[in-house]
């Protein structure tokens, strides 16, 4: 071997040894048997960062399921049915007098065996916000005077009548997770406020968290989160146990990956926005959506076109109204969503019972907002927005050119497309407009600072018990000036005295006083219709696609028991019920081994399960005979986790390294021979 070949092969070998040793030293300590596929429900759509934070006190950072699967709320709320389901509570809240509410509890207990008592409720609702003033729901104390615990199963909340915020309190009833006082109290004593910075409270790793819910963390990797059913869950007696023994929650960042996994049956339950759902549902008939046809999904929130009402010409209500007439929302719905969402009404109240009752239909009819570009042009002409410099675009009455920019985050494909269409519509009526797609962070920054012309957003418009949550987010009257961060939804900085007082009054009106509320909302909506400070576009759907390859029992229009959502903090809207309804395909006994072969042509909607075993087998799943599936339940808490000796990692790395080096040596020998 001559010198240079030696040098070459040594260098290449070195390169590989480096990479191989990197391979060998790769982190992660332990290994856990992969849960059997047919006992696992694979979910995606709500995990956007590595599952490391399980602190229910910082819900924006907490991994999905922290509230719902681990820590539970007093009630579930099913928006599409406007139905309350007592969860830890045993009954609906009962008004004892006008300032006190009584809630009875079920016989529930924490995973460590301690019961969930009224003290835990008091701790959650009263003690915690008091001790941690910077807690996100600390403002509850502005109207919650005290919480009494007459006995272990009874809680009485006492309010200040004048400052009482009814919708918020009801909202908290199904969103605040009840926390174990016996675990949290000592920690707070010790660390105080710093509890907010702890990713996991009361344990060293997520597997050891003490919660009360039906699933506990099984293990986590950087992009996958496994839950295992808590077989000693208190709710077994009331609700039965959920179907899947395991939940595998995966982090996926792109639509195309989600589609690919869904159609291969690698994803059972998807809360992604997925394009081409009509096509997919036609082609792969194991795909389930809530509705079989349009609109396929339940509405979940409102996509709103925000306008910077401090910037000409958007500070002119006439101009804003003209925009409404100019925008062809149906075109967005048809082209972008293929009809999978519904058009929003001009005030944006979602079509759920709790909200619809406060929609002033007559007012909306009277104003008669609709897509009408002629009308838009007429309004613009009347208001003096005509082309003054002859460039073909409309200008301000004072001659300044108008050049609007619609921003949506880059990568949010449906909104990007919608923004393009909106710009297109505006151009059609002579308004120069351009869709622009900054990075998400830049978008968010501009949005919170109010430094934009037009943008689409939906963050705080989620379905709830009362439209107040929506209006409060949208119209937050104390939003700081443009340029300062406003963390509410009043991105356009629309200030209106009437609205401020109306929002105030609505919050002080009991939910039962429907007539008064109707009147108040009507007044509020009148202002909105007159001023048009924002344009509700369409109802963003509760994206949900599921496959029936492993699991059945999904909520559909035929059996609409809940909203099948798994996004963080939304399990109470129906996700938990879905888990309870799920039945394994194996249990139903249809087949022991099935093959998924998507029907290639849309004309043969043959049921594919059990499918004919054709040549094209994308996925063959044998029902495993692994010990776990045959031994019904290791009823005692978590399955034993066997830490894999570190050497196994290294061994594997070395094997890979040897293979690679072998290939390289082969190549070198081949090369030497030349």
């Amino acid at each position: 071997m001559t010198g240079e070949s030696k040098a070459l092969s040594l260098t290449i070998a070195l390169l590989f040894i480096i990479s191989a040793s990197l391979l060998a030293t790769i982190t992660t300590a332990s290994s856990i048997p992969q849960p059997p596929r047919d006992q696992t429900v694979v979910i995606g759509g709500g995990l956007w960062s590595p599952p490391t934070n399980f602190n229910p006190l910082v819900p924006w950072s907490a991994t999905t399921g922290t509230i719902g699967l681990i820590y539970e709320t007093l009630y579930l709320y099913i928006p599409n049915l406007n139905k309350w389901i007592p969860w830890i509570a045993s009954d609906m809240p009962k008004w004892i007098n006008s300032t006190a509410i009584e809630i009875k509890l079920r016989n529930a207990y924490w995973w460590d065996g301690k019961p969930i008592t009224s003290e835990d409720i008091k701790f959650t609702y009263y003690t915690l916000p008091k001790e941690i003033p910077s807690l996100y729901y600390a403002n509850i104390l502005s109207y919650l005077i005290n919480v009494a615990t007459p006995d272990a199963r009874t809680v009485i909340f006492k309010f200040n009548a004048t400052s009482m915020n009814y919708p918020q309190f009801y909202y908290y009833l199904y969103t605040l997770p009840i926390l174990p006082e016996h675990i949290y109290q000592p920690i707070i004593k010790k660390v105080g406020m710093k509890i907010l910075k702890m990713p996991i409270v009361g344990a060293s790793k997520p597997e050891d968290i003490v919660g009360s819910g039906m699933y506990r963390v099984y293990y986590t990797t950087s992009d996958t989160l496994y839950y295992v059913r808590a077989d000693n869950w208190w709710g077994k007696a009331y609700f039965g146990l959920p179907g899947p023994k395991y939940i595998k929650y995966i982090m996926v960042f792109s639509n195309q990956v989600a589609i690919a996994m869904l159609v291969r049956g690698d994803l059972d339950w998807s809360n992604f926005f997925i394009p081409g759902v009509p096509t997919l549902v036609n082609r792969y008939n194991f795909l389930v959506t809530f509705y079989k046809t349009k609109p396929y999904y339940l509405p979940a929130n409102v996509a709103v076109l925000f306008m910077n009402v401090h910037k000409a010409p958007l500070n002119d209500p006439r101009f804003r109204k003209a925009l409404y007439y100019a925008i062809d929302i149906d075109r967005i719905i048809n082209e972008v969503y293929q009809g999978a969402v519904e058009k929003a009404n001009p005030v944006g109240l979602i079509n759920i019972p709790a909200w619809q009752q406060f929609l002033a239909k007559d007012l909306i009819e009277k104003f008669g907002y609709k897509y009408d570009p002629k009308m838009a042009e007429k309004l613009l002409n009347e208001a003096g927005y005509v082309d003054r410099n002859g460039d073909g675009w409309r200008d301000l009455p004072n001659g300044t050119t108008i050049d609007l920019k619609i921003i949506v985050p880059y990568g949010w494909t449906d909104w990007m497309q919608a923004a393009i269409i909106i710009a297109d519509c505006l151009k059609a009526v002579g308004i120069k407009a351009e869709a622009s797609f900054p990075a998400y962070g830049v978008y968010a920054d501009k949005m919170y600072k109010g430094e934009f012309d037009l943008l689409i957003n939906n963050f705080g418009s989620f379905v709830s018990i009362s439209p107040w949550t929506y209006y409060e987010w949208l119209l937050w009257p104390d939003a700081p000036k443009i340029g300062q961060y406003s963390w509410s939804g009043n991105f356009g900085r629309f200030y209106n005295k009437t609205i401020r007082s109306l929002l105030e009054e609505i919050s002080h009106t009991p939910l039962s006083n429907i007539n008064k509320l109707k009147q108040l909302y009507r007044e509020l909506e009148l202002v909105l219709l007159q001023q048009m400070p924002y344009i509700p576009l369409w109802y963003n759907a509760a994206w949900f696609q599921a496959t029936t390859i492993y699991w059945t029992g999904w909520p559909t229009s035929g059996n609409p028991y809940g909203m099948p959502l798994t996004w963080p903090g939304t399990w109470q809207y129906g996700g938990l019920l879905t888990l309870l309804h799920l039945k394994s395909m194996k249990v139903t006994g249809t087949t022991t081994s099935h093959t998924v072969s998507p029907t290639q042509t849309t004309t043969s909607p043959q049921v594919t399960i059990p499918a004919k075993t054709t040549t094209s087998t994308t996925l063959t799943h044998k029902t495993s005979s692994t010990p776990i599936s045959t031994t019904p339940a290791i009823t005692t808490s978590t399955p034993t986790t066997t830490p894999v000796p570190a050497s196994s990692n290294a061994t594997y790395g070395i094997i890979v390294a040897i293979i690679i080096i072998g290939i390289i040596v082969g190549v070198i020998i081949w090369w030497r021979k030349r």
Binding site: E4, A7, L8, T11, I12, L15, S19, L23, I26, T28, S30, I32, W48, S49, T52, N53, P59, W60, S61, S134, L135, Y136, Y137, A138, S222, D223, T224, I250, M251, V252, Q256, V257, A260, M261, R264, G411, Y440, G441, V442, A444, D445, M447, Y448, F459, G460, E472, D478, W487, G489, G569, S616, T617, V644, N649, Y652, I660, I664, V667, W671, R674
Partner: protein, 334 residues
């Protein structure tokens, strides 16, 4: 006149250059995101309703990420952290240390790119040499090679994905990162095979395109070499064309080895698109997501590792080149 430059000096000169490159690149990666937007906004955007909580969260994160400090202090802290191996916490993948993310991504990249580069380098150079040697074959090979070079990585990736995973279901369309994870946490042959299946298409996309570049480069180099003085002389000595072209090949390899380092740079970027299409969790994937999610910390980390990788590769290539080329090894240049 032969210019003399020692091997040590050659290496020293390269090291100085690489240090400049490193500082420039990392500083650019640090500066650019600072000028635009507050990365905290992205976290708050996840919060949903509640003005009170958001304000609290915002101030909390401003402090946690050190964004409330003056810029120069942040810059100094960044370098201090860097030398302690601390690259900060990702904003996009909230809570995860950037060093962990990029380290893992680096390993994924090495698994994908090192074999891809080496394979394409060998095959490409071989094809190029053949094209240069046999003129009849050249007619067919030349356009093919240039068409391959002209193909964007992502387009070939899409063609492969469409052909091999949608039309003929031979390979999975995307990487399921869980399989990769499992490969490391819980290795087994089925996982390994599943991984290899998922790895094949991204690998092929990278190999085929960059192969075209190598081959076309090798072809022109070989044609030059086959016309050079020593080739002439060897022909005059009646040596076989096989031997002559093997010498020409050796000569032509030197610039190709230098090209290896530069090619790595383009491949990293080409890999962004490929990783994006196949959902492969390499550095390109994280870099891209860091960009579109305005995650300065992850961005810095990813760029840092990419630059380090490119520099390391360039350096290895420089050494290799020096080792292979006696002109440098013996300190004579030009």
């Amino acid at each position: 006149m032969a210019m003399k430059m020692g091997f040590g000096e050659y290496v020293a000169k390269r090291i100085v250059l690489y240090i400049i490159v490193f500082f420039t690149a990392v500083s650019i990666a640090w500066i650019i995101p600072r000028f635009l937007g507050n990365p905290i906004a992205i976290i708050i955007a996840r919060l949903g309703p509640g003005q009170a909580g958001a304000a609290i969260a915002a101030s909390y994160f401003m402090q946690a990420f050190g964004l409330n400090k003056p810029l120069y202090e942040q810059y100094i802290l960044f370098w201090i952290g860097l030398f302690h191996g601390d690259l900060g916490i990702s904003v996009w993948l909230l809570g995860k240390p950037v060093s962990q993310i990029v380290f893992k991504a680096l390993i994924h990249d090495l698994i994908l790119m090192v074999p891809a580069i080496i394979t394409s380098w060998f095959i490409g150079n071989y094809l190029g040499a053949i094209a240069a040697k046999y003129r009849s074959l050249d007619r067919i090979l030349l356009p093919i090679l240039y068409i391959l070079t002209a193909t964007p990585y992502f387009l070939l990736a899409m063609i492969l994905q469409w052909t091999f995973s949608v039309q003929y279901k031979l390979f999975p369309a995307v990487i399921q990162t869980s399989i990769l994870d499992r490969l490391f946490t819980n290795p087994s042959w089925p996982t390994f095979i599943a991984f290899i299946k998922e790895w094949t298409l991204p690998f092929l996309s990278l190999v085929i395109v960059s192969m075209g570049g190598w081959a076309s480069g090798m072809r022109s180099l070989m044609i030059y070499e086959l016309e050079s003085n020593y080739s002439r002389f060897m022909e005059m000595m009646g040596l076989s064309s096989r031997l002559i072209s093997s010498y020409a090949f050796r000569y032509a390899l030197s610039p190709q080895i230098t090209g290896l380092g530069i090619q790595l740079g383009t491949m990293v970027v080409g890999a962004i698109a490929v990783e994006y299409i196949f959902n492969y969790p390499g550095l390109g994937y994280f870099l891209f997501n860091a960009i579109i999610n305005n995650d300065p910390f992850l961005l810095q980390g990813a760029i840092l590792i990419i630059v380090l990788m490119v520099i390391a590769a360039n350096f290895i290539v420089d050494l290799l080149y020096a080792a292979l080329d006696p002109r440098i090894r013996l300190g004579v240049m030009g």
